[in-house]
Structure formats: C-alpha cells, structure tokens
Amino acid sequence: MLDILTSIIIAGLTTGALYALATVGLSLVWGSMGMLNMAHAAMLTLGGYAAFSLSSALGLPAVVGFAGAVLAGAIAGGLLYVFIVRNLLNNDKATFESNVMIATVGIGIALENAILLTFGGQPLKQPISATGSLIIGPVNLPYQNMLIVIVVIALMALVALLLARTRIGRAIRATAQNREAAQLMGVAVNRVYFQVLVLSGALAGVCGVMVSSMTQLSPPLGNDPMLKAFIMCVVAGLGNLPGAVAAAFGLALLEAFVQYAAGARWGFPSLLFVVIAVLIWRPAGLFGRAQIRRM
C-alpha cells in the first residue's frame, strides 16, 4: 500500500510543481500590473521549443537548451512589453485591463501558429529529460519527477527572494500595491512592468521545458497548464503569489487522489467544483482580500 500511496503523492507533487510554475508567472503579471496575460500559454510553448531547437536540432548540451528556454521566454516577455503593453498603457487607463487581455489573446494565437508553421504539428520529444528512478525499499522515485519538483522549488525560492529582498522586488511590490503612489515615490513604473514581463516570460520558458519533458512538444502545449494556472489563480485570489503556489500543490494533490479514488475522469471536474465553491463562498479567493474600486 505504501508504494501505491507514494506513487499518487509523487504524481500529485509533480503536477502541482508544474501548475505552480505556470501559476506564478501568470499571477505575478496579474498582481503587479492588473494584466491577464493570455499569451502566457504560447510563451510557455515557445520555451519548450527553444530548448528543443538548441538541444536536439543543434545538438548543444542540455544546460544550454535550458538557458535558451529561459532566454526565449524572457525576450518574448520583453517584446510583449515594448510592442504591446507600453502602447496600451499610454492609452486610457480605465480600459487597459480589457484591452491588454484582448491584445494578448491575439498575440498568443499568432505565436502558437508561428510555432506550428515553423516546427509542424507533429508531436516531438523534449530532449531535456531524466531517465531512471531512485528506489528506496518499496518506494520508487523517478528522477524526472524529482528534477521537476526540485527545479520548481528552487525557482519559487528565487522569485520569493527577488520579491522580498531586492530593490527590483520592492519596486514590483510597491507598484502592485498602488501604481500611482509608487510613481509619485519615484518608482519607474514602466520599467517595473518591463521587468515583470521579462521575469514572467523566463518562468514560462522554464515551465515549457518542464511540462514538455513530462508530455511532449506540440503547438498547443501551453494551453492546458494555462487553464490550470488560471484555476489556481482564481482559487488562491488573483495576484496572490504564495497563495497561488499553495493552491497549485493542494489542488494537484486533490486531483491525484480523486483520480485514484473516484476515477481519472473526475480529476478535472473536481478542480472546477472547488473553483465554483470558492467563487460562491470566498469570491476574492482563499488567500485574497476583497477589492474595493472607487469610481
């Protein structure tokens, strides 16, 4: 029974780590900029393909492929700011949230189709992956799952440190709390937005590599993690980073246990049930605060 329980927990933790990584990138942008980045899924896919191109097509070491994914995601985030977000911010602030959501839907579709045209629709194997398992008595720990959990925890710690202990992090938090006040205090808000999108893009790039190492590369790769990330954000409270990570691991473990106990097909509906329940009883999310908008 121990090995069965362990394998369910491992499945839950691995999925939770992937959800958390996708969620953090999305939540960071939402929390600090009020921007729901609908192109996040495509940026995630871009990272996966960047790693594939460097490691498989060009034959470079896995580390270079991984770094390439981070870089590709970061550049995509930077370009998104330069060409889209900056211009939308210059327009009417009241309509920014809806405008940027529509604009990023278009960017996401265009990017996904660009990947489709470049690489084709055939599913591909992500070369950056680990094989084998660590066997401790009846417990079997696949290296690939361990790698994902370790990389994600390390990245979460780095993001937390960046936000809590650095000048950039303070500026991000200040902008997230009150954009106008931060601007009056001398924070270069536009630069903060740029940095947040670059950081979010880099995280999406890593997430793309991790997800595709457990599944496969295909142009719609990012859509499922993006959907799950959105669920985690809603459950945790949009923009709440620690809450989003906790929700990601908690809900992934719940999903794994439901899949085992009730059947695999009930996993996703159980997540949706939790979302509905949270929206009824805690509309601001489990860890979110009620938001008051002054007209």
């Binding site: 189709n113 629709g121 055939q122 599913p123 097909r265």
Partner: protein
C-alpha cells in the same frame, strides 16, 4: 502527353492494379490537358491530431501525383485542396467541408479521420450531393447510413467500424494464450478508454465480450482526452495486476508517456494499445520504453510485396520517419474514388445527383485491393468488412492487423493474422 516513365510510375506506385486500370481507361486521353478535377480533404492539420493529419495529406498527395501521371481521371488531372479542421468537432469539420464545396466545387471529399463530429460529414455530403470517403472508423457511420440509405448514398467509410476491435483483440489474446506463446498469470484484463466515442465503443465491446473469451474485467478506467498524467491510473494497475492492459485511448504522445511512466515500476502484464503506436511520434517520444507493446489497427498499410512500391515512394517523398501506415488510408481512398469516377465516365460535380450516384454505385460494386488490404462496401452500412472477425475470406475483408514494437529503432512487426504475419510474437522485456 503520357510518357513511358509516367506510365511506369503510375503502374508501380499505385501498387500496380489501380495504375494499370486507370492507364488503360486513359489510353486516348491526354493527361494534364483537361479541366482539373478538384478533390477536397478536411484534415486535422493542427491541434492534437496533427501527426495524423500530416500523413493523411501526404497519402493524398502521393495518390494524386500517381493518378495524374497515369493520365488523371479520363484526362483530367486531380487538384487537391486541404482545409484544416484543427481540434475537430462537428462545427469545424462541417464548415471546412462546406468551404471546400463552395470554393472549389469538389465532387469528392476524401478525409482521414475527424473526431467528435457525430458523423455530420454524411449530412454535408448528402446536402451537396458529393462523394465523401472517410476513415473515422465508427459504427455510428453504419447506424446513420441505415437510417436513410437513399440520402447518404455518397458516404463511404474506408475501413471497418471500431466495434470490431473488441472481439478482434480478445480473440488475439486468447489465441496467444492457447498457443503457448504467452502464459497469462490470471484471467484479468484492465481496460483504459479515454473520453471519446471511438475509444469508448472499443472499450465497451471488449468489456461486453470479455466473458465469452474467458476473461474477467478487473478495471475499467476512463481517462480524460487527451491525457498524459498516468500516475493514479498506474497506481490502480499496480495494486491489482491484470494479465493484459488494454488501452483504447489512441493519441501516440499520450501512449508513449504511459509506457515511460509504466516502466518505472512495471508489472507482469501484456500491454495492448490502440492505433497510436503506429505513428512515428510514439517511437520518438517513448524510445526504448515502447519495446514489447502490441497494438492493432483495422486499417493500415500491409508490409507485403504488393505495397512495397507504395512504401518506398512514400518514404522517398516524405522522409524516412514518415508514417506510410497512416498515409495509406487516404492514398487508397483517392485511388478507389478516382477509378470509380473513371468507370462512371465522369466524376460529376456538387448537386449533380445522377452522375455522383453513378460513381457511388461503382464504389459499392467494386472490390478494391489497395495497400491496406481489401475494401468491399458492406451494403448495410457502407463500411469495409473486417477480416477475420467479420468475414472469413481475406479477399473480401480488410485485415485486422496486430503489430508489436520489438525494436524501437525499426518499424513494428506484423504478428497477426497468421495469413499476413511477417514475424512471431515476442514476450515483452518487462515480463519476468
């Protein structure tokens, strides 16, 4: 003008028979000089089934090139038009088909498969009076045809319905066990369908017939479609190991992940999968983990002498990793329709019920030996017959092929039915 080289290409590439027939009919016709015949195809060129969509397109292109080299249809070259059905479904597929008719006036649409359509393709074909051939592999095609054979006269399913996978798979396992090639540790089988019509019909057919073949269903677990996190399902399998695991989900990438995750803690069960292992993506993603996997298909290019020219042309044109086993479906479909159109004297055009009806009548009458085996339309449902489960005569039914991946660096081996088998079954490496 049809030259000797083109003629030879037509003969050889088409697997001889089709090319010879068309070339004879075209003896006086001048290829490429007539008005083109527009043939449409609504294929999943992007989305999760793109791997198959690409191969379906390849099969059509190869067939069109060979038919045109043999003189086209009574001197009229075929011009292909592809519409992307993306993630499929009734709305996208019907719109794509209607666009083909509206834009190009296509008298025929040769599809691969499209999922979740509720066989709306048959309504598009009926409403426009065109021939529609598809490889959805669904019993619902037969059921819909039966409701109004006069209306659906132009709809043909190029292969047997998926139902026949059920009894075919059980018969295969029983034969393997009785032949002493595999010692089943118990009588249990675990069935894992995904949430789509094709997968569930097969799983239900296996479950309903299991007792007749001496098996007991120990697990029936429906997984989401698509799916790639197999952890909880594998935990259940490991808790109560069956003699055979039958996965009727069919996406190659998901099935490859099943094997990768299964082999971290394998159990002494045979692993049988549906269709997906025939695609290159399964081997590329799964690597050595897929060695030993058995799969079957009721439609696929047979690795025999007859199809050799086709297989060589396909790989020469589309690369060494291309899946001729999938492209062969639309390849045969286009050849079959082109010959019928030539015999009928003209392919017709949309809303020309009289002429299109003549083409359909030839398709019903002809027995066509293609690279996938024999197509003979079952008059009750206008699908192919299945050999050996449905008909005992291999010249009148399409073979239900069982293949095994014995070395992931090479093509899978055909291990049943015995009449067509090229290799013997090997015990999978994880079974101790």
């Amino acid at each position: 003008m049809l030259n000797r080289r083109a003629m030879l290409h037509g003969f050889v590439g088409a697997g001889a028979a089709g090319g010879a027939l068309l070339a004879d009919m075209n003896r006086t016709a001048k290829a490429q000089e007539g008005e083109p015949v527009h043939v449409g195809s609504a294929l999943p060129m992007s989305g999760f089934a793109a791997a198959d969509g690409i191969e379906f397109k390849n099969g059509l292109e190869l067939a069109a090139a060979e038919i045109n080299a043999a003189g086209g249809i009574l001197g009229r070259p075929i011009e292909l038009h592809i519409e992307d059905t993306k993630d499929q479904g009734a709305d996208l597929v019907s719109q794509a088909m209607q666009r083909l008719v509206d834009r190009y006036n296509t008298p025929a649409i040769i599809n691969g498969y499209n999922l979740g359509t509720n066989m709306i393709e048959m309504d598009v074909a009926a409403d426009n009076d065109i021939i529609m051939m598809h490889y959805n592999t669904l019993i619902s095609h037969n059921e819909k045809f039966k409701t109004d054979p006069e209306r659906y006269y132009g709809s043909f399913q190029g292969d047997p319905p998926e139902f026949w996978y059920g009894p075919g798979c059980l018969n295969f396992l029983k034969t393997l066990s009785e032949g002493g090639k595999w010692t089943a540790p118990n009588k249990k089988i675990a069935i894992i369908p995904s949430a789509n019509e094709y997968s569930i019909v097969i799983a239900n057919a296996i479950r309903d017939k299991a007792a007749e073949y001496g098996f007991e269903v120990s697990l029936f677990e429906t997984v989401p479609f698509p799916t790639n996190q197999w952890g909880p399902t594998l935990a259940k399998l490991r808790q109560d190991p069956p003699a055979a695991i039958i996965v009727t989900h069919f996406l190659p990438q998901d099935l490859a992940q099943f094997m990768v995750q299964f082999l971290t803690q394998p159990i002494n069960s045979l692993v049988y999968m549906q269709y997906g292992p025939s695609l290159p993506a399964f081997r590329e993603i799964g690597g050595a983990s897929i060695n030993g996997v058995i799969y079957s298909t009721v439609i696929g290019c047979l690795p025999d002498e007859f199809s050799k020219a086709y297989r060589e042309s396909y790989r020469a044109k589309f690369g060494p990793n291309s899946a001729y086993i999938t492209g062969s479906q639309t390849y045969d479909g286009l050849w079959m329709w082109a010959i019928a159109a030539a015999i009928a004297g003209d392919p017709g055009e949309p809303f020309d019920k009289e002429q299109v009806g003549k083409v359909a009548a030839v398709m019903r009458r002809n027995v066509y030996r293609g690279v996938n085996g024999t197509y003979r339309a079952d008059p009750a449902g206008q699908s192919a017959y299945c050999y050996p489960t449905q008909v005992a005569d291999p010249s009148l039914g399409m073979p239900h092929q069982f293949l095994q991946h014995q070395d992931h660096t090479t093509d899978p081996k055909l291990i049943a039915p015995a009449l067509y088998a090229t290799d013997a079954f090997l015990l999978p490496p994880w079974i101790k």
